[in-house]
Symmetry: C3
């Protein structure tokens, strides 16, 4: 039983965060978590479909005791259908399980599908997530025996054919037939895979829906990173490396992973749940809470990191970074702050592909790409995105998104006059009452 | 023996601080402190004269075992005389003690007047505060037997008729007669009460002056709040609620009241004298000293509050708030600072009703009304006043007062160019000496 | 044996740092360290040549059991030659040792010269510092017996006549003859002393070079202060005054001198090597590391001082001061930061007498003169110099040097509009989940 793991998506809605497959959770890329979950559910043969943007990184991953094969999807515009067709020569006649790398689910979803697919009367199986309120996705229409009669995209609230939303965990006993059907449909079509399913159902394919009631969170928009972070925190086992150096006056509270080589200095606090990666320094008087700090970071003196995901080798210094997603190799000068609450306290919107989309929360900070350098005493407004390789000057207010590779400075001219104030040399001592 | 407590003043010189009767000291409104002091001195029958702006709040107050009645003064322009006349129908023929709610005195002043008024030869009693240096108020001119011959307003330094300043703690055995006299004088007159007294003295009224040598502080200008705060601190008994949660690494020093539900986090310090109200959070690494923090406040990470009076439900975050008066329901973004020292270190002046008035101190910060939202990294200049319901943007320097209901932002345009600096991904590791 | 200590230099390349002779190291002016080193090596008769700018301060110094005489050099443009000629009437016929006050050397250099000068065959001795790589100074050309045949200024890399650089520790048995020779040469010449030596050598003067392999560091540019600070730290003996008050929660680590009257407050950290002078306050949650803090300073709440030299009576408050040299009597408002790293992370250049000169390091902060007042939330760019008696406003970015006696402010006009946002009084409690 093969897994086709769909990992070719360009993560455009996540920009400037690079490829979401490589977002780190608890020190591992998301895609590794996905594969490990599938392995636990019994899968041991993986075809991962990537694009030119992430093929190299996918190839670098290593797993033991499984088959792990990378296939390139050339034309990423062809979406899920294109990804499956790209596997034509490697799928063979065995059962395949198509899984999206962006949907984080409880492992039980994979176990459910394994159990159901064994039924002789079933040709395919689709996992349906039981929802309590309307979700803007595809709904499964099912007959009395639990077989799917159609998949209805975004039916609108009140028109749902069931309470089951289509999650991309689909098993097909005859993948060749699916691929043949896909190839019949024009490659311009966005819903090519759904159209093919429909046509196969009409042709007699028996697709069983399995009801799934566990955790499910797609990573579609940047703020979903926080949801998934919380999920990983919930299941995290607290471990502090013996090799970590923790000052006597530092305080560690709650559920934490602290890796080898970590140094935590005097009067710093880690308020779990937190993940502190290899060789991270948390300097004096800093506070890290509800956050992931990836390896090599230096959290400088008097910095607060709250509810944030911090990439590798990020340097901070007397900053507040709250509800933010910072990619690898960024640095922030002393006194720079991420605003994370609008002054009118309304929900914070983010520009996603030219459209303002609400994050549905009133606490949201900064999103950055990789390799950013930010000066001292700068202020980022809530929900702002900074592209990779930007340089942001000192003392600025950044109220909107900055595209990658930009250099940003202010234009305040100083007024310089003769100083007419009499500055007394002894003023300081006078104030201390020593004169 | 009735108290006429004059509480109708509009506190114009205190703006944007709302009604000074409801300024909180040690968790109680000032007017409650006043009434409790009078109760201790033996009074149990109170007529409180309010205005339309504070009638409701006055009515909400509750006291046990006393008569507590609210009278509205319709025309506040008629001042003290108007207030007394407003009580015409409720005073009766009993002795009344007229007390200003704005003069904070040691309880002994009330006891003194109670003792003196018992003398049969006396019709009225006025408390005279013994002063050592000139004070710009009314001075008592007295004869050899200690009876007042006139009250001389602001005589000028060197021309004082005595060393006794008129404090509004006045007992009259025949209030009806006083009211009749007041009604004879034109209501346009500012000094109507004083003119009436003068006329009564000429008509044979025997007003005894009692010399008072204890604490007296009128709250006339905002900075008087600090004087009164110090007075309450001096007499405060240290108590820490058993219900308060204080982290092991937090430090509590000096004389403090810490109320129930308070949480003090790691590496925070409370340096008394301090009052920390119900449910206040003092977060990690913060410092509160010589300050009152009213209930519901969140003093966020790495904030210093020094010598300040902080209203209810105020939220701070990595701020410095020094020598400031912050009213209820305000919030300050991370990195925002109240300047509290001029760069030339001269005394700080404040705009009071269109006039610059010196606070007579070189340490004075911010004065705010209620319900203000301030962004991150903003700088308030010393002695600035911000009206209620203002929104103050991020990264600003606020050099002058802002009227209520304003939205303030800066106008710095960013210069955005292509970034030509080569940013090395490995720069951070190089700096750590790891490459 | 007399020392002629050359201390008249105007320290122009060090500006705005005042006279480098009085730069403090471990609580003593540099020139006192120099004289004490010479005393240890056996010298007990000092002629210190000063200029009008520092004569008074030189005269104030006191030493026990030595002759200590101050001579004024009137025309400072005449450099080293002028300084020596100024001593004509006081040198007598005894051996003199000419020493520059700006060259910090291991005491062994002085011992070496004392030992060598006893040789009967030698007229003069010059210390030559053995160098491993090219240094832009004067090189000693020597013959097979170790006698100097000439001094070659800046020969260029690869053309060095030896590996010995001329340090101004020069002994002459016949100072009168040297002075006669100097007076023959035009006073306009920059290299008058070197020309005189050359001429004396040609006339048969036997100058022995002594090879010196120990520590040598001239203070020529401001960043040399850091090098010399490190040298003093290396040789420093850790001592904490019994009279210092150190809070129980404060942390002292590494090699430190903490003088009498010092107070270190809760949750502060001193990470040695550090020198903390008399009566210094290090307030709550501050961090001082690898720095010298001279007497009378107040390091306010939540300040970090890193790798810096801080003059007397400097007040900080929630600042970051890194890799900086701050002269006496300066103050910095809360939130003000010294940038100490370029955003492109290149080496930092400093304007020295109109020329950009690289500090050869990518970590360099602020250099100030004396008696500066800086407002809150201001940002200094790396390598900037601020002249004495300047006032720097709040919320500014200071990207270039400011001459002395200037008043600097920004020119951001505020935009003030009616506030249309509905600010809910209960918002804070809602956020805390209390409503």
């Amino acid at each position: 039983m093969k897994v086709l793991l769909l990992a070719a998506g360009k993560s455009e809605r996540m920009q400037p965060i690079p490829d979401k497959n490589f977002l780190m959770f608890l020190g591992k890329p998301l895609i590794v978590h996905q594969i490990e979950s599938l392995i636990k559910a019994g899968f041991d043969d993986f075809i991962v479909i990537g694009g030119s943007h992430n093929l190299d990184k996918l190839k670098e991953l290593e797993f033991k005791n499984i088959n792990y094969q990378i296939i390139e999807q050339k034309n990423l515009d062809e979406g899920m259908a294109g990804a499956i067709i790209a596997c034509e020569e490697v799928v063979g006649n065995d059962l395949v399980c198509i899984v999206s790398s962006n949907d984080i689910v409880d492992e039980k979803a994979y176990e459910l599908i394994v159990n159901t697919v064994n039924d002789e009367n079933v040709d395919s199986v689709i996992v349906g997530k039981k929802v309590k309120k309307y979700f803007p996705g595809g709904y499964l229409k099912i007959d009395s025996e639990g077989f799917i009669t159609s998949v209805i995209e975004k039916p609108g609230e009140g028109n749902e054919p069931s309470n089951l939303v289509n999650i991309v965990i689909h098993c097909h006993k005859n993948p060749k037939k699916l691929i043949e059907e896909l190839k019949k449909i024009s490659s311009n079509k966005d819903d090519r895979y759904e159209v093919a399913l429909d046509s196969l159902i009409k042709g007699g394919l028996k697709i069983k829906a399995v009801e799934f009631d566990g955790y499910w969170q797609p990573i579609k928009f940047p703020w979903h990173v926080f949801d998934v972070m919380k999920y990983f925190f919930k299941n995290m086992e607290s471990t502090i490396s013996k090799d970590a150096q923790i000052a006597d006056t530092a305080v560690i509270k709650g559920n934490v992973i602290i890796k080898e080589g970590v140094r935590i200095f005097d009067h710093a606090t880690i308020n779990g749940p937190c993940y502190i990666g290899k060789n991270v320094v948390v300097a004096n008087n800093s506070l890290v809470r509800d956050s992931m700090i990836n390896e090599g970071c230096v959290i400088g003196y008097s910095t607060e990191i709250a509810r944030s995901s911090i990439g590798k080798n990020v340097w901070t210094h007397a900053n507040y970074i709250g509800d933010s997603i910072i990619s690898d190799n960024c640095s922030f000068g002393s006194g720079t702050v991420t605003g994370n609450l609008r002054l009118d306290e309304k929900n914070i919107s983010v520009n996603i592909k030219g459209e303002k989309i609400s994050s549905e929360t009133n606490k949201f900070g900064l999103i950055t790409g990789e390799n950013i350098r930010c000066g001292i005493n700068t202020s980022f407004m809530p929900g702002v995105k900074i592209g990779s390789n930007c340089v942001i000057g000192a003392g600025l207010v950044i109220p909107y998104d900055i595209e990658e590779n930009k250099f940003v400075k202010g234009n305040v001219k100083l007024e310089i006059r003769e100083n007419k104030a009499k500055l007394e040399k002894d003023a300081r001592n006078k104030m201390r009452g020593k004169i």
